[in-house]
C-alpha cells in the first residue's frame, strides 16, 4: 500500500505547489484542488522521471525523490509569494447562486454516485493484475524494464526483438506505473496498474470543478457523475479492450490531460484567468508525452486558438502549442529519433496515394463510427444525450471557449478517421476476422479513442443545458 500511496502523495504535493506557484490556482473548492493537484502532479512526476532518464541519471526511488525535492524547493518561494496575492476568482456569477434544498440533494446524490463508481474503479485497479494485451505488451513491459533496469533507454529501446512494444511511443505512463515498483524493489504488475484509476479520479474532480465554476455545483456534479459511470470507464473489462480506468492503458491518462488542456484553453480564450495559456500548454505537453494521439490535439488547439482567440491570435497559438511542443521534443522526441518505427507510424502513411487508396473505406468507417456513438452497452446514452443537450442549449455554446473545444474535438475525431483511412495495420487476428482488417481495428480501438474526447464533450453538453437546480437557486 505504501508503495502506491507514496508516489501518489508526492505527485499531489508537486501538483498542488506547481498549481499555486505558476497557475494562480482558479479552484473554488477542495474537490477541484484535489483533482488539479493529482492531474498536474502525475504529469510532472512522469515528466520528471522521463527527464532524469533522458539526461542519463536513470530512474530510481532516490533519483525521482531527489528530483521531486529540487522541483519543490524551486517552486516553493513562488507558491508562497502567490499566497500573499488576492486569489483570482474564475467563477461565473450564475454559479455563485446558493442551492435550494432540491439542489443540495441532487448535488449530494450525484457526487455520491460518482464517488461510489470511482471507488469501484480504484478497488478494481488495486485487486486486478494487468490483463489487457496492449497494456501488457506495451506500457507494462516498459514499466517492468524501467523498474528492473532503471532506464528505458538501454538496449531494448533499439532492439528489433522488442519492436512490438512500439519503442517510439511516448512512455510517460510507463514511468508512472514503474514508481510503486521502484519503492517496493520488486516488479508486480498488480501494483503498477493500481496507479491508473487515479487518472479517472483526477478527471472527475477536474470536470466537477471546471463545470461548477461556469454553471454551478449541480452541473459540475452531473458532469462528474456522467463521466464516472461511463460503462467502458467504470466496469466493462472488454470490449473494447483497454478502455477501463483499471486496465493500465494510456487512453484514460490522455483523456485527463486532453480535457484539462481543453478546459484551460477555453478559459484562456475567454479571458477568465491570466495564466490559463500556460496551463493549457503544460497539459498539452503532458498529453503528447502520454500518447501519439496527443499530437493531433496539439494541432487542433492551435487551429482553434487562431479561430477563437480575440486578439494577438498568432502569439497565443504559438505560445500554447510551442510550450507543449518544447516539452515533447525536449523530453521525448530527441531521445526517440533513433528508435525503430513500425507499420503504425502514421505520418509515413499520409501520402496522396495512400489517401486515394483508402478513401473507399470511408463510408464503412463513418458507419462504424456512428454505430460506436450509439452503442448503449459501452457508452449508455452518452453521445445521443450530449447531442440532444447541445442542440437544445445551442445558444449557450456561442462562446469562444465552447467554439475552441468543439473545433479541437472535431480535429481529433477527424484525425482518427484519417488514420483509419490510410492505415496499413494488420495482425493475425485481424486477418482471420470475418469483418476485415479495418473494421476489426475499429472494433478494438474506436471506443478508447473516443474516450480521449468524451469528457470534454459531456462537459460541453452540461454547459449547454445546465440542470435547473443550479438556475433556480
Amino acid at each position: 500500500m505504501i508503495a502506491l500511496a507514496l508516489p501518489l502523495g508526492v505527485a499531489m504535493v508537486l501538483g498542488a505547489v506547481f498549481d499555486r506557484a505558476l497557475l494562480a490556482d482558479p479552484s473554488r473548492g477542495a474537490i477541484e484542488r484535489l483533482g488539479r493537484a493529482l492531474m498536474l502532479g502525475l504529469g510532472l512526476l512522469g515528466s520528471l522521471a522521463l527527464g532524469l532518464d533522458g539526461i542519463g541519471l536513470g530512474v530510481s526511488a532516490a533519483s525521482v525523490g531527489g528530483g521531486s525535492l529540487v522541483l519543490l524547493l524551486l517552486l516553493a518561494p513562488l507558491a508562497l509569494r502567490v499566497a500573499a496575492v488576492p486569489e483570482l476568482d474564475a467563477t461565473d456569477a450564475t454559479a455563485r447562486v446558493p442551492l435550494g434544498l432540491g439542489g443540495r440533494v441532487a448535488w449530494a446524490g450525484l457526487l455520491g454516485g460518482a464517488a461510489v463508481s470511482l471507488a469501484l474503479v480504484v478497488r478494481s485497479g488495486w485487486l486486478r493484475p494487468t490483463f489487457q494485451f496492449d497494456a501488457l505488451t506495451r506500457w507494462m513491459l516498459k514499466a517492468k524494464v524501467i523498474a528492473l533496469d532503471g532506464t528505458l533507454l538501454g538496449a531494448i529501446s533499439h532492439d528489433p526483438g522488442f519492436g512490438f512494444t512500439h519503442q517510439r511511443y511516448p512512455p510517460l505512463v510507463s514511468y508512472l506505473a514503474a514508481m510503486p515498483n521502484l519503492i517496493s524493489g520488486v516488479f508486480d504488475d498488480r501494483i503498477a496498474s493500481a496507479m491508473f484509476p487515479w487518472f479517472a479520479v483526477a478527471l472527475a474532480a477536474v470536470l466537477y470543478g471546471a463545470v461548477s465554476r461556469r454553471v454551478g455545483r449541480v452541473g459540475g456534479a452531473l458532469a462528474a457523475f456522467w463521466f464516472s459511470t461511463l460503462p467502458l470507464v467504470a466496469y466493462l473489462p472488454f470490449p473494447p479492450p483497454g478502455s477501463g480506468a483499471f486496465s493500465a492503458m494510456a487512453d484514460l491518462p490522455l483523456a485527463l490531460f486532453a480535457t484539462g488542456a481543453l478546459l484551460a484553453a477555453a478559459d484562456a480564450v475567454e479571458g477568465r484567468r491570466a495564466r490559463a495559456h500556460l496551463e493549457a500548454g503544460v497539459l498539452l505537453g503532458f498529453a503528447t508525452l502520454t500518447k501519439n494521439e496527443g499530437l493531433p490535439l496539439l494541432a487542433g488547439v492551435g487551429l482553434a486558438f487562431l479561430l477563437f482567440a480575440p486578439t494577438t491570435r498568432w502569439r497565443r497559438a504559438l505560445g500554447v502549442t510551442g510550450l507543449a511542443a518544447c516539452l515533447q521534443v525536449l523530453l521525448w522526441t530527441r531521445l526517440a529519433l533513433g528508435m525503430p518505427t513500425l507499420d503504425e507510424h502514421y505520418p509515413d502513411r499520409l501520402t496522396g496515394s495512400a489517401l486515394v487508396e483508402g478513401l473507399e473505406r470511408l463510408p464503412s468507417i463513418l458507419w462504424r463510427l456512428a454505430g460506436e456513438l450509439g452503442d448503449l452497452n459501452r457508452w449508455n446514452v452518452t453521445w445521443l444525450a450530449a447531442a440532444a443537450l447541445m442542440a437544445v442549449g445551442l445558444r449557450r455554446l456561442r462562446t469562444r471557449g465552447a467554439g475552441l473545444i468543439l473545433v479541437a474535438v472535431g480535429v481529433q475525431i477527424g484525425a482518427y478517421v484519417l488514420a483509419y483511412v490510410v492505415t496499413s495495420w494488420t495482425s493475425p487476428a485481424a486477418q482471420a476476422s470475418p469483418l476485415g482488417v479495418v473494421p476489426y481495428l475499429m472494433d478494438v480501438t474506436l471506443g478508447r479513442l473516443l474516450l480521449h474526447v468524451a469528457p470534454a464533450v459531456l462537459a460541453l453538453a452540461v454547459l449547454a443545458a445546465p440542470p435547473r437546480a443550479d438556475r433556480a437557486g
Binding site: L110, G113, L120, R123, S124, L127, R128, P129, F131, F133, L136, T137, M140, L141, K144, V145, L148, D149, G161, F162, F164, L222, F225, W226, T229, P231, A234, Y235, L236, P237, F238, L376, N377, N380, V381, T382, A385, A388, L389, V392, G393, S427, P428, A429, V462, A464, A465, P467, R468
Partner: protein, 150 residues
C-alpha cells in the same frame, strides 16, 4: 415540451440509465446492460478472496475463452519454472508459438530475452534449437518446456 424541459429530461435519463446498470442481470440479453457492474464486483471478489488468483488472472487475460485460459495457465506455470532456474538475461527460444503469445511471454519472462520466429512465420516444434539458449518453450494446445543439454 419546451427546450428547458427537454434538457432536464435528457439529463435525468443519463442518470437513471447509469443507475439501472446496477440492477441484477435479467438473464437474457437486454439493451439496458443490467448486471455489468455486479459482474465486475464478482470478478474483483475472486481476487480479493485470494483463492486461485493465477487462474483468475489468466482467465481475465484470456478473455475467459476456455481453451485459451488453459493454455495461458500452462504458460504461466512454465514461466515460473524458468524464473526459478534462470539468470536474468538468459535467452529463451520459442518454437511454434503464435505472435501474440510470444509477445506476452516476452513480457512475462523479462529480464530473460525471448528469441525465435513466430508460428505465423513458419516456426514449429521441429525448429533447430539455437546453441546459446537456456530453455525452449514449445507452443501448441499443451505448451511444453525443454531444457537443452548444456
Amino acid at each position: 415540451m419546451d427546450r428547458d424541459s427537454i434538457s432536464q429530461t435528457v439529463a435525468l435519463l443519463v442518470v437513471v440509465l447509469a443507475c439501472v446498470r446496477w440492477l441484477p442481470a435479467s438473464g437474457t440479453e437486454d439493451w439496458l446492460g443490467r448486471g455489468a457492474p455486479r459482474a465486475a464486483l464478482k470478478l474483483d471478489a475472486m481476487f480479493a478472496s485470494g483463492e486461485r488468483p493465477l487462474q483468475t488472472a489468466m482467465a481475465l487475460r484470456a478473455g475467459f475463452a476456455p481453451l485459451r485460459v488453459q493454455r495461458y495457465l500452462a504458460w504461466a506455470q512454465l514461466v515460473r519454472q524458468i524464473e526459478e532456474r534462470g539468470e536474468p538475461g538468459s535467452r529463451i527460444q520459442l518454437k511454434g508459438v503464435s505472435r501474440n503469445e510470444g509477445w506476452l511471454l516476452a513480457y512475462d519472462l523479462y529480464p530473460h530475452r525471448v528469441v525465435g520466429e513466430t508460428a505465423e512465420n513458419g516456426s514449429s516444434a521441429a525448429d533447430e534449437t539455437r546453441p546459446d539458449v537456456f530453455a525452449v518453450l514449445i507452443g501448441g494446445d499443451v505448451p511444453r518446456l525443454e531444457w537443452p543439454a548444456p
